[in-house]
Symmetry: C2
Subunit: 218 residues, 2 copies
Amino acid sequence: MITLTEENYIKAIYHLSNNGTLTVNTNAIAEAMKTKASSATDMIKKLSEKNYADYKKYQGVTLTENGKRVAVNIIRKHRLWEVFLVEKLNFTWDEVHEVAEHLEHIKSDKLIDELDAFLEHPTHDPHGDPIPDKNGNFHHIDKIVLAKANIGVAYKCVGVDDTSTAFLQYLDSNGIGLGTIITVKYREPYDNSMRIQLKNSEIIVSNSVAKNLYLKKV
Amino acid sequence: MITLTEENYIKAIYHLSNNGTLTVNTNAIAEAMKTKASSATDMIKKLSEKNYADYKKYQGVTLTENGKRVAVNIIRKHRLWEVFLVEKLNFTWDEVHEVAEHLEHIKSDKLIDELDAFLEHPTHDPHGDPIPDKNGNFHHIDKIVLAKANIGVAYKCVGVDDTSTAFLQYLDSNGIGLGTIITVKYREPYDNSMRIQLKNSEIIVSNSVAKNLYLKKV
DNA sequence: AAACAAATTTAGACTAGTCTAAAAATTATT
DNA sequence: AATAATTTTTAGACTAGTCTAAATTTGTTT
Ligand SMILES: [Mn+2]
Ligand SMILES: [Mn+2]
Ligand SMILES: [Mn+2]
Ligand SMILES: [Mn+2]
């Protein structure tokens, strides 16, 4: 039996490890989980005992295959619920995260299979993040970050890195969402801000915005 | 802050007290919650401290108005989710209970309001139980139990009392569901079993079945 | 009214998860 | 290579919820 807290730690480690590729340190986990390092250490030991993680004292943590499987499944559930909330229940993309954070822990294979079918097997969530299929395979899309886009080329917005309410609402109020067509007009060398062309407007975005927006050539 | 366990106890007390009208004793709560009486006592004290219940040692428990409000809200969520599972995700009426038991604890007013609207404000769940509205008002239907039905009168099945998988599957396999038209042909005085007329068949049901099926005159 | 039985509460212990404070190990700096 | 700074772990305590076993209260019988 896996607890809700264990699931949250496993998911956090998965994300911090860049989808299970890097070693993660205790402080990073504690920060992500909003607990103290001592609590993280305790949980890491438990995850290690339960075979979700590999761990040697002072040497950081990696997820086992088993741990990755669990993480990917939670992420699948999280993102499917996000799609449900936006597509069926009129949530906006900045409102879904907190609720999905809880819904992701409901344990029922039938529930998630049927939800997936009901939503017609979506491949991406409302923030452009890929939804792994039942076997844990991600539908990879090759995207670049706005900060590295080429001048004069037309791109489509396909995702965001930062999913905070503040950022998503900033995008809303500037008319940027998934699917928006963006062409870079000018990059200011001084602060790396960019002037970008949208459908009916030209706006200037800071580098911190440009680093959090993913694009794909149209 | 109310915990998941507190919510489950409050809901159990609500049901045991016949919707908040009777005093409930410790052993009944312990049995309903599948814990021991000592655990129930501890929780009762806590609910009392938090103003969800009124309690005097050895004298049993009642819910406060506050406690009833919480109970009705959980029941609302539980039943709305059950409708969702059956109507949208192809669950059968014997599969929904366990999942709804978890979904009922998700805390988001927007979620439940939108779900209610998405389902077009259903008044009853898949077992015929009424769904309280946002203000906690139940849409009362006047139903009688099959065991007390009159011979020769046509009734419509509108609910079940027992929602166990075994009972619901028994009904399925005998062609009885919500909406089924039933006419009592004969009541056997010896064991109170009944011969009942369905659309295309006549079957005999025991008294324990007859006590768990709710009907309404057509 | 005393004795017995049943229901309920208390006492003390256990697990999961958290915290603070202190100790130990690792890494960086001189 | 020694010292300092940082990171991580340990020790011990706390809360929520549970348990067993014992004590207490209430209810029922004689
Ligand atoms: Mn979560
Ligand atoms: Mn998302
Ligand atoms: Mn529940
Ligand atoms: Mn129901």
